[in-house]
Amino acid sequence: MSAFKELTKGIYDQNPVFKQALGLCPTLAVSNSVENGLGMGLAATFVLVCSNVIISLIRKLVPAKIRIPVYIVVIASFVTIVDYSMNGLFHELHKSLGLFIPLIVVNCIILGRAEAFAGKNNIFLSLLDGIGMGLGFTLALVLLGTIREILGNGSFLGIPVIGASFKPVLIMILPPGAFLSIGFVMGFFNWIENRKSN
């Protein structure tokens, strides 16, 4: 697979959220606005890229038996770094993402990539893989965030985009809206795939 492929596969073909159904909790929880989605996406991308690189770097040193604990330690360290930095630098955003920053540690995408990719490939490819997957995750969050924020709040990135006569569909920014949006978006992608294969 070409390097370019490694970079782009995460965006659509192997999108972690829509195609692999991974990392669903943060996706649902923080996609109530574009800003939250973006913040979460970038935070996770940072962890993903760093842990991919480090793991790829040390993969030869680590015996198979303790692979997973080591990965977890590496990931957890970066998560803590992101957690504290965001708390200091973007306090408001950190507050609204809440619990889900430390929870990046169990985000199935990250451990998944460590296992499936970084533990087997060189640094360069792992870096690209991390960026690509992170990008895919971020895009998914932003897409859902956009849908939910526009419908549920009439705004995009906090800026009102629909006239005042529009009565926002409040439910879209409530929990049910998260499930419904992701369900329909996934259905839509399936529909596209089905049409393509016909």
């Binding site: 159904a21 991974l22 990392g23 669903l24 909790c25 943060p26 649902l28 929880a29 997973i68 604990p69 977890i72 330690v73 957890a76 360290s77 998560v79 803590t80 957690d83 504290y84 619990l99 430390p102 929870l103 540690v105 169990v106 985000n107 199935c108 451990l111 439910i171 409530l174 929990p175 049910p176 809206g177 998260a178 499930f179 419904l180 992701i182 369900g183 329909f184 996934m186 259905g187 839509f188 399936n190 529909w191 089905n194």
Partner: protein, 211 residues
């Protein structure tokens, strides 16, 4: 007051702030293991068990190892001048402890009750990477629950998760016999269903239990 408080925490964690429908924790296993009722019941039982245990252990770790208080064991053992603040290790410590705990539970069950192991065993490894467990542990700390409250919260959250999981599994088994449009089959319809269930669970919002 004490017992009433516990009751409020329990009902809150099961119905009002249900992990799946309002906290968004444990969604991956919720979608992944809800295809069949039998495995949903097994998974549910495993989660309740591990979540209770994890709440207990992480609370102790936080209280006696991580928090900068006079109860901190490092403070005693190394007779430090001042209690160390190790709270930046919370995430690492918790996740490692949970992973180890699950391993340990798996071993104990395997040795002591092969039948139970057969029923729960396959679900245990899945649980390690389940954010609901870590989530419960972190919420216990964030809400500054006491030891007993943490245990009650942990087990109730597990029960709430299991209820959501089992209801979903029942419905998904039935949806196997439905004419769902092709593109919506599988995970998409599971999400739609979860959304509709979350709408129904809105009925519990605002339950006024205490005072």
């Amino acid at each position: 007051m004490g017992v009433e408080q516990l009751f409020i925490i329990a009902v809150g964690a099961i119905f009002i702030n249900n992990f799946v429908f309002s906290q968004f924790l444990g969604i991956c296993p919720y979608i992944g293991v809800s295809k069949q009722l039998d495995s949903a019941v097994g998974m549910g039982a495993a989660v309740v068990f591990v979540m209770t245990l994890a709440s207990t252990v992480t609370w102790l770790i936080n209280e006696y190892l991580l928090q900068p208080s006079t109860k901190n064991l490092f403070f005693y053992i190394f007779s430090l001048d001042e209690p160390p603040d190790l709270s930046f290790l919370t995430t690492i410590a918790f996740i490692l402890v949970i992973a180890a705990l699950v391993q340990f539970v798996e071993m104990v069950i395997q040795k002591s009750s092969p039948a139970l192991y057969k029923a729960l065993g396959i679900f245990l490894p899945l649980i390690t990477t389940n954010c609901a467990i870590l989530g419960a542990a972190l919420i216990n700390i964030k809400k500054e629950f006491t030891f007993i409250q943490s245990i009650v919260h942990g087990s109730s959250a597990g029960i709430g998760f299991s209820i959501a999981l089992i209801l979903m599994a029942g419905i998904r088994e039935k949806l196997e016999l439905a004419d769902i449009p092709k593109s919506m089959r599988g995970i998409p319809i599971a999400f739609i269903m979860a959304g509709l269930m979350a709408i129904a669970f809105l009925g519990f919002s605002g339950l006024k239990l205490g005072n």
